[in-house]
């Protein structure tokens, strides 16, 4: 089994995107199959085993969220990466709850999709239940911020806060995300929440003093 090439299924109704993803991933030595809609994707998942499903959320007919729900239940060995249009954070949060392993926002570069797929396949099979703890979500959020995948990062941060609302790190990261998106007011508020939770939490203090008026150029502290 170990010598076999990882198998990836791409489910997207747009021919362009299927082509772009196939083109980018083929050269990494994966075996690629494509599905043109949700029903087709489930049919192919039933017929053969896949390591990874790249799933577009918006497809005519059966939508991506439904496919995700079914796939997570019936084929737990297949990791699912959600492909979304930009700025759909709510969907991202929902998808993480349903067990999606990660997200990628359109448009993306060939390098970006290759790196993400490689990481997920490397990450091994963290079961979704295990992934629902604070530390994992926090780690995923930081990684997403570093890759500038902000919707995904926001989804992870919110999951981390839901898992443990009493710790400062996640609020600090939420502030960082808001600052990146240009919402300085919201960012300051969350840095303060982080400091209220733990007055000695240094990254939040640094972010707070750096982002005053006028903002002092400096690095965001992810903690």
């Amino acid at each position: 089994m170990a010598t076999q090439k990882p198998r990836i299924l791409i489910a997207d109704d747009e021919k362009n995107i299927r082509f772009t993803m196939t083109h980018a991933l083929e050269r990494s030595g994966y075996e690629i199959a494509a599905a043109v809609n949700g029903e087709d994707a489930l049919k192919q998942l039933e017929a053969a085993e896949f390591d990874l499903l790249l799933l577009d959320l918006r497809m005519p007919g059966m939508d991506g969220m439904e496919v995700l729900r079914e796939a997570a239940e019936r084929y737990p060995g297949t990791r699912v990466v959600i492909v979304t249009a930009h700025g759909t954070v709510e969907n991202a949060v929902e998808a993480v709850k349903l067990g999606a392993a990660d997200f990628i926002q359109k448009p993306f570069s060939p390098t970006e999709i290759r790196d993400l797929v490689a990481q997920i396949l490397d990450r091994g099979h963290i079961r979704t239940e295990e992934a629902h703890d604070y530390a994992t979500h926090l780690a995923l959020a930081k990684r997403s911020i570093n890759q500038r995948r902000l919707a995904a990062a926001t989804a992870y941060v919110k999951q981390a806060i839901a898992a443990d609302p009493g710790r400062p790190e996640a609020f600090n990261l939420l502030g960082v995300l808001q600052e990146i998106e240009g919402d300085r007011h919201g960012a300051l508020k969350n840095y303060r929440i982080a400091l209220d939770l733990n007055p000695s939490y240094e990254p939040a203090r640094r972010n707070l003093s750096r982002s005053g008026e006028p903002p002092i150029p400096g690095t965001l502290s992810l903690g």
């Binding site: 240009g182 707070l208 005053g212 008026e213």
Partner: protein, 222 residues
């Protein structure tokens, strides 16, 4: 001072009028023929040039080589940016100022060589936020080029800070109560100093958290 104003609309007229009255030499660049005609009629002392301020030939006609400053005021950010850059780099105009319509571009313009970029959106937003300040605020004084603000705040009947000690106040981290004026005497406060009805409080802080500090002391709008 020799200034070129490139833009359109009424602002241009009033600015030119104000500056010529002070004895400055103003040249106006406007791309609308009808506006140019009206401006030339109303502003006898100003030179009016028809054309786009980002066009080197137009700027040259407008006397860019001798100008001390160019102000770009059109409603299109790209036109304002390019006008400033052409003025500075092709004609050596020492100061170039631009109106920024999209506040996101303020920082970008500065990084691309515009001496000063001002965003009407941001100025108005700041004014509104400062206005939200409260009748109880007697003076609002920006210091250190606006990086610090100082205000005198009266503790009113409904003020959240009334009858509380400073320690109990929910003040943002970068603000400070620097003095309490009670019955004409100035007290230097300590953490356990208590605020009473009618006290005047001297508040110092960074502008970003100043609104929050004012609300913590004097409450939501009066």
């Amino acid at each position: 001072m020799r200034a070129i104003l490139a833009g359109e609309g009424k602002t241009l007229y009033y600015l030119a009028r104000q500056f010529t009255a002070k004895g400055h030499h103003i040249t106006i660049v406007d791309r609308h023929p009808d506006e140019c005609e009206a401006l030339a009629r109303r502003l006898e002392k100003s030179v009016v040039v028809l054309g786009n301020g980002s066009d080197p030939a137009v700027l040259e006609d407008a006397g860019a080589r001798q100008a001390d400053v160019l102000v770009a005021l059109t409603p299109e950010d790209q036109d304002n940016l390019i006008a400033c850059q052409v003025a500075r780099q092709m004609f050596g105009v020492p100061r170039v100022l631009a109106l920024v319509n999209d506040p996101d571009n303020e920082e970008i313009f500065k990084r691309l060589g515009v001496t000063e970029a001002f965003s009407a959106t941001r100025i108005i937003a700041t004014l509104l936020e400062e206005q939200a300040a409260l009748e109880e605020v007697i003076n609002l004084l920006p210091m250190a080029e606006g990086r610090i603000q100082v205000a005198e705040v009266v503790i009113g009947e409904k003020a959240p800070a009334r009858d509380k000690t400073l320690q109990e106040l929910d003040l943002p981290a970068d603000t400070l109560v620097a003095g309490i004026i009670r019955a004409g005497d100035v007290h230097i406060p300590r953490g356990n100093s208590r605020l009473y009805l009618g006290d005047k409080v001297i508040l110092i802080g960074r502008p970003a958290s100043f609104g929050e500090a004012l609300r913590a002391v004097a409450g939501e709008e009066a």
